[in-house]
Point group: C2
Chain length 146, copies 2
């Protein structure tokens, strides 16, 4: 389930021009191993379980640095609070309107190239984000309406 050792994570940080600290390693690893698109708060708690506690302010600053450096994506704000994603492969998201969970949508076609759009040549399109909203399987089964 792991697939990378500390040395690997250190290289990744360096490759993105980021100075290496144990806090950054911990934060990036937590995000890297999570599929939950966690918030800063959640990352903070998760990191605190394995290492001595890191301040929440540092988590915010670090995630912002990571995001600037292109190491992670800030899915911000699809839900009420900012959520982060270490998976940089282009993919879409499903957001549950009830429990706020975010699911990756794998293998959903993204035919339209994000870079051009008829009638909008004057816009410089950097990225395309598709968000589906509705009930996730868990919340759907709890609803009366099938």
């Amino acid at each position: 389930m792991n697939g990378m050792d500390d040395t690997g994570f250190i290289s990744i940080l360096r490759e993105h021009g980021l100075q290496v600290t144990y806090q950054r390693l911990a934060i990036y690893q937590a995000l890297y191993h999570s599929k939950e698109h966690p918030s800063a708060e959640e990352i903070h708690q998760q990191v605190g379980r394995r290492f001595s506690m890191i301040s929440l302010g540092t988590v915010y600053k670090t995630l912002e640095r990571f995001s600037e450096a292109g190491l992670i994506d800030k899915i911000n704000p699809v839900a009420e609070v900012a959520r982060y994603d270490a998976n940089l492969m282009p993919h879409h998201h499903f957001v549950c309107v009830k429990c706020q969970a975010i699911y990756d949508l794998e293998g959903v076609s993204d035919d339209e190239s994000p870079m051009r759009l008829d009638g909008y040549e004057d816009f410089k399109i950097l990225k395309r984000q598709v968000i589906l909203r509705g009930y996730c399987p868990k919340c759907r089964s709890r609803e009366t309406e099938s």
Copy 2:
């Protein structure tokens, strides 16, 4: 540029099960006539220019009621603060990463039906939102990078 009188707006509110007050009329008209996807704050200022000032709290409560009633859309939060839209026709948005302006994308195909998706039959999809991010024409010309 107008196209609807007060009586028309009153009917629309009633049709959505909303009690009619002059504050609600003012707020809905302001949003209806705007193409800027204004924030609550902006609506508040705009309304204050034409009527006696309405409290900001009321603007927030009212927009929330409108949104529940299906009278408007809460594009929330595509940018840093919630932005609202009275145009209920399905359409996509372009958000400028620099000036935060939101543009409607008219006539952009939305082939995939929002209701079904191969491999995600357990999800109840209510709506699909496509957001393109990049530089709008104005900000693009101010950038060095063409």
